[in-house]
């Protein structure tokens, strides 16, 4: 189970989450997004970048609420809400966006 990009293979688990979060790069993110049938817009990237920054500091993805607040700050209330995040990432902003951001899947009752 691996992504292939420019002759390099990147191992992932059964669900497509990168085995090694350090190998992530933007091109790889685009490839993972494509496999999820998503085209990365500016708003998609905003979420991914926020997740990566947050992860670097806290070693976990942020609560949905925290992510919503960050989006509101960047794009205003129209895009700063849970529903909008689901239009960006239909399988859930935490799980799907984490996958594209190269981060581990949030586990538990979430």
């Amino acid at each position: 189970m691996a992504y292939e990009l420019n002759g390099t293979t990147y191992e992932h688990d059964e669900e497509g989450y990168l085995a090694d979060i350090n190998v992530w790069n933007k091109e790889l993110a685009e490839l993972i997004a494509k496999e999820e049938n998503l085209d990365m817009s500016e708003e998609h990237w905003e979420v991914v970048n926020f997740l990566r920054d947050y992860y670097e500091e806290y070693q976990i993805a942020p609560a949905i609420r925290v992510l919503v607040k960050a989006m509101k700050k960047s794009f205003g209330p129209e895009k700063g809400n849970n529903k909008y995040l689901y239009t960006l990432y239909p399988y859930g902003p935490a799980k799907q966006a984490c996958k594209i951001a190269g981060l581990p899947k949030p586990t538990g009752c979430v």
Partner: protein, 527 residues
């Protein structure tokens, strides 16, 4: 043609029924043998298995090991032995399982699913099965059977609805737990549960949320509450000497609508002047050790709560909205991690947040502006482990009435779903028992069907717009599957979210002395 032809025709009988009669939640489906035979969760990787004391992968002598483990289990539990011996195939359970109703797969009739294990038990542990296997439906555990176990014992959410209808009271959940325990023991564990249990045992919660992130999240939440209400409601972490330790599912720190429930608990504690804290060491109510049938792992998770309570010097433990956690807490906590003689015995050990809030309402300590929930027409989903595995308060049925009393106190428009789908007959959300994982999404959607049909009925009959629950699994599951049944994902609410919306907060109640804290017993002595 008469003039009547120009008048709008009444609906035909067929159209009338099509338009107004929704399918019965309990409607028996057409049988589809093998429909779900391919439904299987991912197996746990060696690292997740080993961390819990199980072999990394399927061991070579798995057959012998599995039979030996089954022998050990029936020797150690007379109850399990009775469940395996006593079924007479009366059929009362056949149409009681939400997974059978949703999938039509006959192996999801509880009797058939149990028989996957029972046939092996008969073969090895009964005289008739040893010598005349063909007469009593005995069969050895071969690869095909093991495969069926892995598939179908992960299509039981251990909700125990079938047990309510079984004339012998056979507890199917125990059979599923035994099968899962045997599989984990021979190296065939489930990824979702085992990875999560490992995180609780190392980090303290299902999410893997470290203290730094927990504190940041809760500080952020405090700011939000103050911005919204003008009141400095606190959510303390690791506060030594607090009276109450709140143990809540870590989903309450992360997901929607769970986090709105957490805000509700905090507001209730604030308004009643309670001294409370969350522990970063035991920052999880959930105990997936139950789901995989592993007493050892269940104990290890439970012991963290004991350790946290002692380290922080609390007098009481209160559990947040989490279904199976409350079953483990109410029914097993003392056996697993007791005695809790260091806690204040004037209060229930442990207590449910709904019991706490209910007592405060009864004592007149909290008041509501119910109009704050007037945009909501509500129904309530009884979570299976609360409904059938525990109780609240000190009267029978308290686990049904206490949440409903809180709802009625905070919300003007409340309507119950059909009687055969609530209280002790409640349907599982479709994601309980360790099945709330993306690799089982098809099963989860199908398993939600009976509950969703009951909801569609009250939506049609009473204009119900939202459903509340007191279980993190139920909330996540419904948020995920509701859009498939015509509801918004935010139509699922936390019970304490309704409390949060409607509670009337006074100013400056935080950190006051405990004099005001007096739910159903004497106030705890001051330190």
């Amino acid at each position: 043609m008469s003039e009547a032809a120009t008048v709008e025709q009444p609906l035909s009988v067929e159209d009338f029924y099509d338009a107004t009669v929704l399918p019965d939640p309990c409607e028996i489906p057409v049988i589809e043998p093998g429909a779900m035979a391919d439904s299987k969760p991912y197996e746990a990787a060696p690292e997740f298995q080993k961390a819990l004391g199980f072999p990394g992968e399927l061991v070579d002598d798995w057959h012998e090991k599995a039979i030996a483990k089954l022998g050990e289990l029936v020797e150690g539990s007379r109850a399990l032995r009775v469940y395996l011996d006593t079924c007479v195939k009366c059929g009362a359970c056949t149409d009681k399982c939400h997974y059978f109703l949703g999938t039509g797969d006959p192996n999801n009739m509880p009797v058939a699913r149990q028989d996957l294990l029972r046939q092996v038990y008969r073969k090895h542990f009964t005289v008739a099965g040893k010598y005349f296997p063909w007469l009593v439906g005995a069969r050895d555990l071969d690869e095909e059977v093991l495969d069926q176990w892995y598939s179908y014992f992960h299509q039981c959410s251990q909700c125990r609805r079938c047990s309510v209808y079984c004339p012998y009271g056979i507890d199917t959940a125990e059979v599923s737990m035994a099968a899962r325990e045997i599989m984990a023991t021979v190296g065939k564990g489930q990824k979702y549960c085992n990875e999560i249990i490992g995180k609780v045992e190392t980090i303290g919660n299902n999410l893997g949320l470290q203290k730094k992130a927990l504190v940041a999240t809760l500080e952020d939440l405090e700011e939000d509450i103050e911005d919204e209400t003008g009141v400095a409601v606190k959510i303390p972490v690791d506060k030594k000497g607090a009276d109450i330790l709140l143990v809540t599912p870590s989903a309450d720190f992360f997901a929607e609508p769970h986090i709105d429930g957490l805000i509700g608990y905090a507001k209730v504690f604030h308004q009643t002047g309670a001294s409370w804290t969350i522990s970063s060491y035991a920052s999880e109510a959930a105990n997936f050790g139950l789901f995989i049938g592993s007493n050892e792992n269940m104990r290890e998770v439970a012991l963290r709560i004991r350790t946290a309570a002692q380290d922080l010097g609390v007098k009481r433990i209160i559990f947040g909205e989490c279904g199976h956690a409350w079953r483990v807490a109410y029914s097993f906590l003392n056996t697993l991690a007791g005695p809790f003689d260091f806690l204040d015995q004037n209060y229930p050990v442990p207590q449910h947040i709904c019991e706490y809030t209910y007592d405060q309402i009864e004592a007149g300590k909290i008041k509501f502006d119910k109009s704050a929930n007037d945009h909501i027409r509500l129904t309530f989903h009884d979570s299976c482990n609360v409904a059938r595995g525990s109780r609240m308060g000190d009267t029978p049925g308290g686990q049904f009435e206490i949440p409903r009393t809180i709802i009625r106190a905070s919300c003007n428009h409340f309507f119950d779903m059909a009687p055969d789908t609530i209280k002790e007959s409640t349907f599982c959300c479709g994601g309980g028992g360790g099945l709330l994982t993306d690799d089982l999404i098809e099963l989860r959607k199908k398993g939600a069907q009976p509950r969703m049909r009951a909801l569609q009925q009250v939506a049609q009959d009473h204009g119900v717009t939202h459903m509340a629950a007191i279980c993190a699994i139920c909330k996540t599951q419904f948020a995920k599957v509701m859009p498939d049944y015509g509801f918004d994902m935010d139509a699922i609410l936390s019970v304490h979210q309704l409390v949060s919306n409607a509670i009337i907060l006074d100013d400056a109640k935080t950190d006051q002395p405990e004099a005001g804290d007096g739910d159903n017993a004497q106030p705890a002595a001051a330190q």
